[in-house]
Structures are given as C-alpha cells and as structure tokens.
C-alpha cells in the first residue's frame, strides 16, 4: 500500500537547495527517526512515553498548583479559584479563564514575544474549552476559576503537557471534575505509530494527531489532526493515541495517590 508518508519523505531528499545554506535542523530525513532495532532518537520504543514527574503544591499562594516534567518539557500550572466573578458573569456556572505564557528561555533561541501571539491564544482557547467541559461548573455559580500556565522549558508540543498539568493542578485545588483529562500526541513515521512526540519528531512533515480524552468515561474531548493522513492510518493512530492516554492516566493517578500518601503520613 503506497502510503502518503512515502511521497512526503522523498521530496525532502530532493529539495536540497544549493543556493541557500542547508538548514538541516529544520527537518531530519525520516529514515533516521526509528533505527533498525526499533528505537527512536531518544532511546524510546515507539509505544513508550517520555519520563514523567510531577510535584504538587509548588505555589503555596495558589489554590492548586502542579509542576510537571514530561520529558524535556517543564511547566508550571497554577489554579486560582473559585472566587467571586465579575458582575456580568454566568449565573449558573463557573467561568474558566486560561492564561498561557512562556518564558523567554524556554526554547533554544531566546524568545522575545512570550505571550499574546497566535499560538498562545489558540492554546488558551483550547484549554479553556476543554476544562469548561471537564469541570463540574454547576457547583460554583457566579464564580470564576483562573488557570495560569507557564512553560519553563519547551520541547515541541506544549498543548498536551499543559492539559495534563492543569488536570493535576485542579485535583490539587480540590475542584470537582467529571474525570481526569489526558492528552497525548501520536505520529506516523516509517509505517509505525509512535506516541508522545518530542520536538524533533514533531517537526517532520509526517501525519500527527493530538488526542485529549477523559479516560474513565471514554469520551473524546478534543481531537486535532492537522496533516493529511489516509483513513486507515488514521484509525491506527487513534488507537495508539488512546493507549498512550491510558498509560498517562495510570501515571497521573499514581502521582495523585503518592501525594495523598505523603500528606496523610505527615498528618
């Protein structure tokens, strides 16, 4: 079956341009991403998540906070609320606002514009929408809950770690939710589905999918697929993404249980 992937990896090789400097950091030829033994560039297997570490209560002033390290992506999620909303706020439900920003040192080249650009705004809207759905907002009418996200180190996709960190921060804040919200990315390189892409793998022109689900309710909350992928491959990717999310859910649940154990032990 001639997959769309083959035709997109071939032009990359033919496009070498003698006039300009070859910026190979832009995309590495696809054949290097998964070695013959089946390991990726960072030593993972195709169905392995990145290293995952979480700590809670890092911002004592906030109602809930979570510092998360997901591979090379380090971020901080803080929740303030629920508190009294503004006068025009929704009478029946809580309003959730999201503020996303990056530090200027989060990527290898110093960023001058750390908030307010297109990508940040889109991410803000997306996260606000996801959590408006996931939080039981009817328990807090006329109030407002703020989410603050800060990326300390970025490794490609920011959206998925942000969603995961926000879920844990909400749990830390004690705000009732319908279910955990887990998110992960999936790519399709060299006829294999690889989960949890890092920046190098994401910059390839290969099909990618970001799936956000509520694992226990088996609900798809957000699904973004921004590349051209054949129908059958899409199904495979969706399955791989669901499995990845379930793995993440186990890790997140374990982190929460550990946190509870330490807190109760102190008491």
């Amino acid at each position: 079956m001639s997959t769309p992937m083959d035709t997109s990896s071939l032009p990359i090789k033919n496009k070498s341009n003698q006039l300009t400097s070859t910026l190979t950091t832009d995309y590495i030829v696809g054949s290097d991403l998964i070695s013959i033994e089946g390991y990726r560039q960072d030593g993972r297997k195709p169905n392995e998540l990145r290293h995952f570490r979480v700590s809670f209560n890092v911002v004592p002033d906030a109602d809930g906070s979570c510092y998360m390290e997901h591979g090379n992506c380090k971020l901080l999620a803080t929740i303030y609320g629920p508190y009294e909303g503004e006068s025009r706020s929704n009478q029946e439900q809580a309003i959730i606002t999201c503020d996303f920003s990056m530090t200027s040192y989060c990527v290898s080249e110093r960023r001058l514009r750390t908030f307010g650009d297109m990508k940040s705004q889109r991410l803000q809207m997306a996260i606000q929408r996801v959590f408006q759905q996931a939080i039981i907002t009817e328990t807090y009418p006329k109030s407002q809950i703020d989410i603050y996200l800060k990326i300390l180190q970025s490794d490609g996709n920011d959206y998925s770690p942000c969603v995961n960190a926000t879920t844990l921060a909400f749990i830390n804040a004690g705000i009732p939710m319908k279910d955990f919200v887990c998110s992960s990315t999936v790519g399709y390189i060299q006829n294999k589905c690889i989960i949890d892409l890092n920046q190098q793998e994401e910059q390839q022109k290969s099909p990618q999918l970001t799936l956000t689900i509520m694992p226990q309710r088996d609900d798809i909350v957000a699904l973004t697929c921004e590349s051209r992928v054949h129908h059958d491959i899409y199904n495979e990717m969706l399955d791989a993404a669901t499995r990845a999310n379930l793995q993440l859910f186990d890790l997140m649940k374990q982190a929460v249980i550990n946190q509870l154990k330490t807190v109760l032990h102190v008491l």
């Binding site: 910026l23 705004q121 889109r122 759905q133 509520m214 969706l238």
Partner: protein, 365 residues
C-alpha cells in the same frame, strides 16, 4: 456556543425537533443546504452561498522573497474578514476569538494538507516566489461559515490564474494576461470541510447547522477530507465529549458529501472557463515579441491541454469502486450506540445503501 443569547421558546422548539430527528427547515439529518457558486470576470473571485450564508473570496498574488528554510516554496495565506454585524449576539472579545478560530482552521486545512503545490509557485529559487493570498469576506451568517468559506477558498484557488513569468538571468518579466495566457494553480487535491453539530450532551448530531441550530449546539466537529479518503484535518470546538463510534459515523457521512462536492467544484469551474474561453482568447494578441512567437503558441496550446489535467495528485487515487466497497462495511448495522443515534443510523442505512447502489451503477457505466 451557549454564549449566544437565545430565547427559551426558540431553544425548546429546536431541541424538541432535534429529538424527533427533524429539522425546522425540513432537511434530513445528513442533508446540507443548497450550494450556489458564482464567478465573475476577475480570476479568483468567487461568491458562494450555502443556504443563506454568503461568503465571497478573492485570490491575489504577489512576488516576494521566500523563507530561508524553504527556499523554493511559495506562500499561501488565508484571511477571513467578518464584521460584527453577522455576529451581533456575541460579545466583543468573543468575536475576535471566533474569527481567529475559523481563520486558523481554514489555514490549517489548506496549508498542512498540502493541497496547493507550493513548489510550483517558485520563480527563482531562493530569490523570488509567488505569494498567494485569499481574502474571504462573510456577507451573511446563517450558520456554518466554516464550510462555506472552505468551499469559497477552494473554488477561488481553482479559479485563479497566475500570470506567466519568464526568467532572464536575474531579471524576470511578468506578462499580462493579454500577452500570454495566465496559467492555473497546481492543486493536488481538494480538502473539503464538513461540519457536524452536536446537541444535548452529544447524543444528537446534525450536518450543516443553520443559525438557530448553531446557537444551540453543544459543540461542533469538523472533518476535512478529500476524495481519496484521506483525512486532511479534524477540529473540535465547544463543550463536547465524543465517543469513538460517533467519530467513525461522522467520517462516513462526511466522505459521501466530500465526493459530491469535489465533483461539483471541478464541474463549476471548468464550465465557467469553457464559456469565457472562446470570447477572450479567440484573437491572438497584437503586441508580440518576435523571438517569443513560437513560445507563445506553445504556451497557449500547452495551457489549453493543461486545463483538463489540472489535478495531479501526488498519490495515485484509488478507484472509486474501492472506496465504495469500503463504505459498504458490514459493521454499519451493528454499531452499539445510544438509542437515538442508532435510530438515526436505521433511517440512514436505507438511504446510504440506495445511494451506494446508485454510485455503483454510475461508476460501472
């Protein structure tokens, strides 16, 4: 889209209709409104109406410097412009968000799916490339601007003609349309967007909501597919929690629509050019450069032969028969969904199988 103000009576009536699998404008659940595509003399200008929703698109081109990392690729930009009047119920900041969201989806559709061959827009690698910009203006919003704008973008791209350029060393010469016939853009496939609206906690779904339905929907799910059964983009919005089976169903319904629309778009544009071709290009132009005489003949004949061969997909398209057999998947009857959606399937299975039989006959002819 619950931020929009809607009276309780309207809400109750529309939701009750939806629960009974009916619609106020007498369409079925998987029927889109009628699409009307109109062109005018200027290449790249198209006016599309989807029911009452009206969007106009204009494609324009400019010569610019390429990006350093993509030295031999042109650019394409899509800009959606919507005044506040079509969205009078939304509050100020929401309007901005809404427009940005639509703009983002439209751009991703065209750019990331590689529907336009950007390398063909290159004039001089590393120095000069064409930069195409599509401006969309929403004249009337009666629901589902996304689909309408998407169709307008594709028609505009397909309709647009790029001026001929000749390169002499480091100088280029751009010919006007009277000197040399402008050539069409190289479009590899048509990513067509289909929007599904979900109601009442995601139990009920509709294609192509009109403005009343759009105000009351929980969220939308838009799939962009092309006729080779490739998914070019998926976007979800609003408060929505979907099951996998619902996504599957949407994909199947979307594919049917996509096939119809692709044929329609191609037909409309080629018909338009057939009607105007005899008028504008009957007489050879008086102003001609001597050494280009032969080239002029070649270019006009080659562009004539180019017209029917406009679509050159990178992947050889699988024949329609294969696609039809995929649609006849036996699990369509055995989907375990909520009661309401399964009755929707029951009503649609007959329609689907009858449509597929029609497709089969049509293909075998």
């Amino acid at each position: 889209m619950k931020e929009l103000i809607c009276s309780t009576i309207e809400r109750n009536v529309v939701l009750k209709c939806i629960r009974d699998h009916k619609r106020l404008d007498l369409r079925t659940i998987d029927e889109t409104r009628s699409i009307n595509i109109e062109f005018h003399a200027h290449p790249g200008y198209v006016s599309v109406t989807l029911g009452q929703t009206h969007v106009i698109a204009q494609a324009s081109c400019r010569i610019t410097k390429p990006k350093e990392s993509r030295a031999s690729e042109g650019h394409i930009r899509i800009h959606l412009d919507m005044s506040k009047i079509p969205l009078i119920n939304l509050e100020n900041w929401k309007h901005q968000e809404f427009v940005q969201e639509l703009n983002g989806i439209l751009e991703q559709n065209i750019r990331h799916s590689n529907c336009l061959d950007l390398e063909s827009l290159c004039i001089n690698s590393g120095e000069l490339v064409w930069s195409i910009k599509i401006d969309l203006i929403v004249l009337n919003n009666c629901g589902n601007i996304l689909d309408c704008a998407n169709i307008a973008t594709l028609c505009s791209l397909y309709h647009f003609r790029l001026p001929e350029v000749s390169v002499h060393g480091s100088e280029i010469r751009v010919y006007s349309s009277t000197e040399r016939r402008a050539r069409p853009l190289r479009i590899l496939h048509f990513p067509i967007n289909v929007l599904f609206a979900f109601f009442i906690d995601g139990h009920y779904t509709l294609i192509d909501p009109n403005s009343d339905e759009e105000r009351l929907m929980d969220g939308f799910f838009s799939i962009s597919m092309n006729q080779h059964k490739e998914i070019c983009g998926i976007h979800m919005g609003g408060k929505l929690g979907l099951k996998k089976e619902q996504v599957e169903l949407c994909k199947k319904l979307a594919f049917k629509k996509v096939l119809e629309l692709t044929d329609r778009i191609r037909q409309v544009v080629t018909d338009y050019y057939k009607t105007i071709e005899p008028i504008t290009h009957a007489q050879p132009s008086i102003i001609r450069i001597d050494n280009d005489e032969d080239e002029d003949d070649d270019s006009s004949s080659s562009s004539e032969s180019e017209d029917p061969v406009l679509i050159k997909p990178e992947i050889p398209p699988s024949p329609i028969e294969n696609n039809v057999s995929l649609l006849l998947m036996p699990d369509l009857d055995n989907l375990s969904l909520t009661d309401d959606v399964s009755t929707m399937i029951a009503t649609n299975v007959d329609k689907l199988t009858s449509d597929l039989e029609n497709d089969d006959e049509h293909d075998n002819e």
